[in-house]
């Protein structure tokens, strides 16, 4: 039996009819066509599927879509400005070569967006701690860490 749910995704009200067991990651990707959110392990460890639920990072692969009925979701597709200009975090990742294959990147971008909102000038330790729930197999993290610091700089410059 399908259940009708209403989500506000990237500022747009979206409706879907999903079975109770439908994962939020699958709902976003397959029901709503937002394939930017990736699924790397389906057991909540890799962090690829991280989205912002009412502003907070969550694992969409460990969340049933029906449990977030009525809530606000931001995915990687919603991080850029409405006109399409990339956010400071996105720009910093491009500038610092913070991605290679790009599969884990949407999860990092969502995580870092929330991190820098809460802590606009994180220390090295705070950055490492902040991204320590996301796996990347390509970059060795060094340029991701650099990207986070650079994003903080860009945000400070532009604020």
């Amino acid at each position: 039996m399908n259940i009708a749910i209403t989500l506000t995704v990237n500022g747009v009200v979206r409706q879907a009819e999903v079975p109770g067991r439908r994962l939020l990651s699958d709902c976003l990707r397959h029901d709503l066509g937002l394939t930017g959110t990736h699924v790397g392990c389906e057991h909540g460890v890799c962090g690829c599927c991280t989205v912002l639920l009412d502003g907070e990072p969550v694992r969409s692969c460990l969340t049933f879509a029906v449990t977030v009925d009525g809530h606000d979701i931001t995915t990687v597709e919603g991080l850029a400005a409405p006109g399409g200009a990339m956010s400071p975090v996105q720009r910093a990742f491009a500038e610092c070569h913070g991605l290679q294959c790009g599969f884990c990147t949407p999860g990092f971008l969502c995580t870092v967006t929330a991190l820098l909102r809460d802590n606009p000038a994180p220390s090295e330790e705070e950055v490492l701690e902040g991204i320590s729930g996301n796996l990347c197999r390509c970059t060795g993290y060094q340029n991701i860490v650099k990207s986070v610091h650079r994003a903080a700089e860009i945000m400070a410059e532009e604020s």
Binding site: T35, C41, C46, L99, Q100, G102, G140
Partner: protein
């Protein structure tokens, strides 16, 4: 002006799409496709007595269930053995779906197709397979001695056995050289299994066009051209009716070079049979138990050396665990055997390996591909020699180095490409000098003493490697300049995050003299380029980079010839700058490449104003020559191939400083330094990124990652909860320095860089821990528990003098 592009840290052109959620990975495609799921063996070794699907057929949304018995003749055969070798006397490959026997946990037995993946898995759960459980063979040493056989017709579980021997300059065999050497050591080394573990698993999506009788397959692969040929062969389709595309691929690291995977032939077959789009995306557990692992080897080493530590003879016996099947042949142990020699002149060398079947997931190349094991062996050997002589570890290495004036240097072996192992260029003493300076090797004893005074244990380690990169047989490139001035580049090999769209565009823009923005690059799409080998062995930049450069040179020559006619100048007096052909020294006299492209294609029909210049009454063609001259083709495009005589050999040296906790045995890497030589750099930013990522995988392999099989052949840690891949908190900042000794073998003077970072890390960390602890480290990975146990058991070094 065209800026200098080759060698610049140009930002990646892939990134805007990947940063905004607009990448298209396999499972992002085919939203309406049916979903496939597989029933996989829960047993490591069993006979299938019966498969009962009756409970599954009522599942809502079920479309089809297939077992081996349903497969047509060609598909019912075992999958191809991709790389035959005379020493692989007992090569065996799996059937796409198990026939009678399963030989590892995770082997596919039944394919289910349903409306979506949830429903397909519902059906899988209801299918009952009756197994007669057989005794499994687990562990390479156990398998080598076991009466129990993985394949009934493979005696001793030995798939391959190969001996390679190079005598000393004086004609001594390795054994004789060791016997007669002033010093002799013997020891044993163990390396455990790890895996490529890309964050995107494998996946296949097939679209059959029944009207056109053609098949389009998307697959998350490192070789779309070869998958295409395999599908055409297995499904009995004409090759031109099959196209294979690697979309954005979420990491490969080796595992996706294997093909065709069972799913790569089964999913297209089902799509044709059902006349519906069908897709399968691997989940993480499937990736652990049904793709491939690497690394596991047991090595027995004997070495003879003189008072300076000069190696006079080296003998290595390797037991290599290749799992249940050998689709990729014996490439991994061949690479271990040959790359073991590193940057050294070894007096006499004998290497022997047995490649052994076990009831575990098959072993195929993972980034480094046998080299991490090789370097572990050789560098542990160097450290053993240094310890024995009481010499500095770098001094022992130095005395064995091939000198810069000795290139090309023939190691006397046959490499993985079937060609002689001849090093093309390098400067190992300079690398070592740079590394010692970067890490502060000579001042470390003071730091160590200082730390000891504070009750801290720190140690320094080193590891050197030489990596054969850019193996043949060939790659190709196609370059087309269209009448809008855009440059379209394609090559057949695929991309998994290496930034090929950027570096190949840099090469093309630099060769053609056009702005980077005008160049677009397509890889891994057989519709654009049908001939290729694939992306592996750090070969993409060397192979396709040079092929694209050669293709660009053809196009450039043609452009200059056409422009010379139009400008009434000699081709030699022309240059291309910023997309314009100009007469040297006459700035006003020029013609845009866009116009040259128009003129290159004599037209009857004008489709726009620009095209009108090339039409038959435009007065541009001479009456005494045909519009397309003999030996010429219309269009401003060119295709060329690069096929090297042999591989080009990159090299590097790493050093690390580690701290071990005296109480908890926790191991922390305080500093990590890399000197890297991959010849000319196309994009230093991307090369650095490759090194960082490689080192991180190396650290995983040295300290965290292992595949834990129990005696029943169950993989106990088949999840990211239990298989410990490092997070940002585990990876040190990598300090890098570049040496550039160009390869004399290829036009661009480049060498591969993709795998380098991972290769020496286990050796380096072992060396550093050994230095910190004074305990011999002879197996990898090493966890705090392992170190704790070693401390308790420690009675000094694990070396026996013979």
């Amino acid at each position: 002006m065209t800026t200098k592009l080759f060698g610049e840290p140009v930002r990646r052109r892939e990134d805007p799409r990947l940063l905004t959620g607009q990448g298209r990975y396999l499972d992002d495609l085919g939203g309406d496709a049916l979903a496939a799921a597989f029933v996989r063996s829960p047993h490591a070794h069993a006979r299938i007595r019966d498969i009962d699907v009756s409970a599954a057929i009522d599942v809502d949304g079920l479309v089809a269930i297939y077992t081996w018995e349903d497969l047509p003749a060609l598909l019912a055969q075992p999958l191809p053995l991709l790389i035959p070798h005379p020493a692989l006397t007992h090569g065996r490959t799996a059937h796409p779906l198990a026939r009678d026997l399963v030989r590892h946990v995770g082997e596919p037995v039944v394919m289910v197709v349903a409306r979506d993946r949830y429903l397909a898995e519902d059906a899988c759960a209801l299918i009952r397979v009756d197994y007669e459980i057989l005794k499994p063979v687990v562990g390479v040493e156990e398998a080598a001695q076991s009466a129990q056989l993985v394949h009934g017709d493979v005696p001793g579980n030995v798939g391959a056995h190969l001996v390679q021997e190079v005598p000393s300059a004086a004609g001594l065999g390795a054994r004789e050289a060791i016997e007669t050497a002033p010093h002799t050591l013997a020891f044993r080394l163990d390396i455990e299994r790890s895996a490529s573990m890309p964050l995107e698993g494998r996946g296949v999506y097939a679209r059959w066009d029944a009207d056109d009788r053609s098949l389009r397959v998307y697959t998350s692969t490192q070789t779309s051209t070869s998958v295409r040929m395999a599908i055409a062969a297995k499904l009995g389709l004409p090759l031109p009716k099959v196209e294979v595309i690697a979309p954005d691929v979420g990491g490969g690291f080796g595992v996706k070079i294997v093909h065709p995977w069972p799913e790569e032939v089964l999913v297209p077959w089902a799509a044709i049979l059902l006349d519906r789009e069908v897709k399968w995306a691997e989940d993480r557990r499937e990736h652990f138990v049904s793709s491939a692992h690497e690394r596991a080897q047991v090595q027995s080493v004997r070495v003879g050396f003189d008072d300076d530590g000069r190696v006079l003879g080296l003998e290595v016996n390797i037991l290599h665990d290749h799992g249940a099947y050998t689709p990729y042949g014996i490439i991994v142990p061949i690479i271990t055997s040959t790359q073991l020699l590193g940057p050294y002149k070894i007096g006499a060398y004998r290497v022997e390996f047995s490649s052994i079947y076990t009831n575990t997931v098959q072993v195929t190349p993972y980034r480094g591909a046998g080299r991490p094991q090789a370097v572990f062996c050789m560098e542990r050997t160097m450290d053993h020699i240094a310890a024995h002589l009481g010499a500095d570890r770098t001094a022992v290495r130095e005395v064995n180095f091939i000198r810069p004036d000795e290139f090309p240097y023939d190691q006397g072996l046959i490499f993985q490409d079937g060609r002689p192992l001849i090093y093309d260029s390098g400067d190992y003493p300079e690398s070592l000098r740079m590394l010692k300076e970067l890490i502060g090797w000579d001042s470390f004893p003071e730091a160590k003493a200082q730390a000891a005074a504070e009750g801290r244990r720190i140690g320094i380690g080193i590891g050197c490697y030489v990596e054969g990169t850019g193996v043949g047989p060939y790659e190709g490139g196609h370059v087309q300049i269209t009448s809008d001035g855009r440059v379209h580049v394609s090559t057949g090999l695929t991309s998994q995050g290496q930034g090929h769209e950027t570096v190949f565009a840099q090469i093309a823009a630099a060769e053609l003299g056009v702005p980077l923005e005008r160049v677009s690059v397509v890889t891994g799409d057989t519709r654009r380029f049908g001939y290729a080998v694939g992306t592996f062995a750090s070969r993409a930049a060397v192979m396709s980079g040079n092929a694209i450069a050669l293709a660009c040179r053809k196009v450039r020559e043609k452009a200059l010839r056409i422009a010379a006619d139009a400008l009434e100048a000699a081709p030699g007096d022309l240059e291309i700058v910023d997309g314009e052909v100009r007469v040297l020294g006459a700035p006003g006299s020029s013609i845009p490449l866009a116009t040259v492209a128009v003129l290159s294609n004599p037209l009857r029909y004008a489709f726009d104003e620009e095209a009108a210049r090339a039409t038959q009454f435009a007065g541009t063609s001479a009456f005494d020559r045909p519009p397309v001259e003999e030996g010429q083709e219309p269009g401003l495009e060119g295709r060329d191939y690069y096929s090297p005589l042999r591989s080009t050999f990159a090299s590097g040296m790493h050093a690390a400083i580690v701290e071990t906790d005296p109480l908890t045995a926790e191991i922390r890497i305080l500093r990590y330094a890399v000197v890297h030589d991959c010849g000319n750099l196309i994009n230093p930013m991307i090369v650095e990124g490759q090194i960082h990522g490689g080192v991180a995988q190396g650290v995983g392999g040295a300290l965290y990652e292992r595949m834990v099989y129990d005696e029943h052949g169950q993989l106990l840690n088949a999840s990211f909860m239990d298989f410990l891949m490092p997070y940002a908190t585990e990876i040190p900042r990598v300090e890098t320095a570049h040496l550039q000794t160009p390869s004399p073998l290829n036009p661009l003077g480049i060498k591969g860089a993709g795998e380098a970072g991972v290769i020496p890390v286990s050796a380096v960390i072992a060396s550093a821990i050994e230095d910190a602890e004074g305990i011999g480290i002879d197996r990898m990975p090493i966890s705090p528990s392992d170190l704790f146990d070693l401390r308790r058991a420690s009675t000094g070094r694990s070396t026996s003098e013979t």
